[in-house]
């Protein structure tokens, strides 16, 4: 399949090549047929070699002159045919070639071949990213920064061109293709054993659904994480085993409800699911008083459902209440003008949420509301990342950035599959426990959003533990989380959030807990701590030093010498 372009080339060049062969053959016959004369009157004719030589330098219009002897007029007249025929054939061949390289079908075939080759050359596990909009580009950047590779398909050629000009850490092959087609996914490396999974983040729910079902049918073991903005699509996706469905509006609404009901838990949630290495921030607590919801679309509905659950009163402002099925008491209007906002009772409200699908409207709502009542809690939905600077300038208490929300959620699912489990367990605890976790995260992360990763205690991924276990030495969580460069058993700036064993799931495990084979640990901390931990788990002498305080000589020779000495 890879050299399809080559076959097209051969087939298109068939007639020009035939023309060339024919013209050369006819010319050679003409050249050899017409006799010439030496000055002394003796007759001569060209032989095959003369004819081939003459035509070879005449056809591409090089022209060395009359070889091997000067021609007479009969020859010159006859040879005109032999000169023009191949020249025309050459032109024909060139024109065909040029036309071929400008042919969009041929170009696409060439690009497809190049994309396939580039994907095949990927040497590390990679994710297929379908859709390179705001979410896709955030995901690709973050994936490459975490050492994953990626291949990208998008229907928009301009976005692919943008991908090629971006300054990423790794080369990411991209192709303008429709993710709905199985062939496109195959080209992006679906059948490649290094493929870790597929991220379907196109703006179209139906395409995402198609991608999910294609992958689950062809390769059920591959992980599929999709974006879905409609509830029915999300349910549909989950029904056939899509690993994770991320709904940006529902997840924002969840967070909002969490922030109102359990602010400490919300803080942990925000910190653990943010983009690593951005500053940790203290989200202001949203008020539990009356909310004004502008826009009752998918987003507005999702928020209202959650607000109902935490018993927060709200008033809806909607331009077309009949079409969207807004409940009784909905104010008719856009909410961009003071009259509508006053009608909705902004004087008694504590918060305004601008949730229309138009960024200009949302900004206008927020600014008008602030004018009327400066102390309002404001949030607005940001539809396009291009407008991020404007939303920043508007200084909202809780911005809604769907593409950012989706990207961070997906990234966490990729790098820390245990995180949702931890957050689910953590919700069950009380405020003081949440505060303790938050304190711990702040301690280890140094004021920035921590990295989150999973540690596997098994032979392949932490050989040092396995070796010490085979010598009968017990290794505890505290041992591996110690910094070997510090003398006094100083801890790494990392902490274990969750310990998962077949028989138990322990949130915030104690440092004295001995590790067992098959354990999985959810850790968070700084990236330096992460790389130090990876080193410790891979080098038995480092780990032995941490456990026993003993420094063993390393290297084959030193080990042999040490064995002889004892």
């Amino acid at each position: 399949m890879g050299n399809a372009a080559f076959y097209i080339l051969l087939r298109r060049m068939r007639s020009p090549l035939l023309a060339l062969i024919g013209s050369y053959a006819i010319s050679m016959v003409v050249l050899m047929a017409i006799p010439g004369e030496h000055p002394d009157g003796e007759q001569w004719r060209m032989n095959f070699i003369d004819a081939l030589y003459f035509i070879t330098y005449t056809a591409p219009t090089i022209g060395f002159g009359e070889l091997p002897h000067e021609f007479n007029y009969n020859q010159r007249l006859g040879y005109l045919v032999a000169i023009y025929l191949p020249v025309i054939a050459w032109f024909y061949a060139f024109m065909t070639l040029i036309a071929l390289f400008q042919d969009p079908v041929f170009k696409r075939t060439l690009e497809a071949g190049r994309f396939r080759r580039r994907v095949q050359r990927l040497a590390d596990p990679f994710w297929i990213v379908c859709g390179y909009g705001d979410t896709g580009s955030l995901l690709v950047r973050s994936l490459t920064e975490r050492g994953w590779e990626a291949s990208v398909i998008d229907t928009d050629g301009e976005r692919i061109a943008e991908l090629e000009t971006r300054d990423l850490r790794l080369f990411v092959p991209g192709w303008q293709a429709d993710a709905n087609r199985t062939e496109s996914l195959r080209a992006a490396g679906l059948d490649n054993p290094l493929c870790a999974g597929v991220l379907a983040v196109t703006g179209d729910d139906h395409t995402n659904l198609q991608v999910a079902i294609t992958v689950k049918l062809l390769h059920p073991h591959l992980r599929v994480i999709t974006r879905a903005e409609n509830r029915s699509t999300a349910d549909n996706m989950s029904s056939f085993g899509t690993d994770h469905v991320v709904d940006p509006f529902a997840s924002f609404a969840d967070r909002l409800a969490l922030a109102i009901a359990k602010p400490e838990m919300h803080r942990i949630y925000e910190w653990l699911s943010g983009m690593p290495n951005t500053p940790l921030f203290e989200p202001p607590r949203p008020p539990a008083g009356r909310w004004l919801i502008c826009g009752y679309g998918r987003f507005g509905k999702a928020v209202c459902r959650r607000l109902d659950k935490v018993n927060v009163p709200y008033t809806i402002i909607e331009r077309t209440p009949e079409q969207t099925g807004a409940p009784e008491g909905t104010i008719h209007g856009k909410g961009t003008d003071a009259v509508t906002l006053r009608e909705a009772g902004i004087d008694n409200a504590d918060a305004v949420l601008a949730g229309t699908d138009d960024d200009a409207d949302n900004l206008s709502i927020v600014m008008t509301a602030r004018d009327i009542k400066p102390e309002l809690y404001l949030t607005a939905r940001e539809n396009q990342m291009a407008h991020r600077a404007l939303f920043k300038a508007a200084q909202l208490q809780m911005p809604v950035e769907p593409s950012y929300l989706i990207a961070t959620r997906m990234l966490n699912l990729i790098t820390a599959p245990l995180l949702p489990e931890f957050l689910r367990i953590a919700r069950g605890f009380d405020r003081s426990w949440h505060a303790a976790v938050a304190r711990r995260i702040r301690e280890v992360s140094g004021g920035r959003v921590p990295e989150i990763w999973t540690v596997h205690v098994d032979e392949a991924r932490s050989p040092a533990i396995t070796e010490l276990h085979s010598e009968g030495i017990e290794v505890t969580l505290g041992h591996i989380l110690t910094d070997p460069h510090e003398q006094e058993g100083h801890g790494l700036s990392a902490t274990a959030l969750l310990l998962v064993r077949p028989e138990a799931v322990v949130p915030l495990p104690d440092l004295q807990v001995p590790l067992e084979q098959g354990d999985r640990l959810l850790c968070c901390g700084r990236s330096e701590a992460r790389s130090q931990l990876r080193w410790t788990l891979g080098h038995r002498d480092t780990l032995r030093y941490l456990v026993t305080g003993e420094q063993r000589p390393d290297g084959t020779i030193w080990r042999w010498l040490a064995a002889r000495r004892s």
């Binding site: 068939r14 062969i21 050679m28």
Partner: protein
């Protein structure tokens, strides 16, 4: 009936018959082998090769390969002939004639393979 198929079969068969005509005769006797016949054989063989371009089937690939082999053998024969007569001045001795015909016979075998494959493919389509 498909004109393209007629042309295709015509050239492949013609390549075989011309090749046979050139080789036919006493092996080392220059009087039995004509230079023009070799020339036409080469031209027809090249045309047959180009006609086989771009076929993506398995049988198409073998057809093209056998044609390329024939081209190579015939080109070697022609070069040998040219060098012997005009290049080194040895002339058409029994030795050179025998070598030229041996090379051309090799091409003949390749052409036989081509025609056989063509017949096989045709029979398969009819079934």
């Amino acid at each position: 009936m498909n004109l393209e198929k007629v042309v295709f079969g015509f050239f492949i068969l013609l390549a075989l018959t011309l090749n046979f005509g050139f080789v036919y005769g006493e092996l080392a006797n220059p009087a039995h082998h004509d230079a023009w016949e070799l020339f036409v054989t080469i031209v027809v063989n090249l045309i047959a090769t180009v006609l086989k371009f771009g076929e993506r089937t398995q049988i198409g690939a073998i057809l093209l390969a056998s044609s390329l082999v024939a081209d190579l053998q015939l080109a070697a024969a022609a070069i040998l002939w040219g060098v012997a007569v005009y290049g080194t001045g040895v002339g058409l001795t029994e030795m050179t004639m025998a070598s030229v015909i041996s090379l051309a016979s090799g091409a003949l075998v390749a052409n036989v393979v081509s025609v056989t494959l063509l017949i096989i493919e045709t029979v398969r389509i009819h079934r």
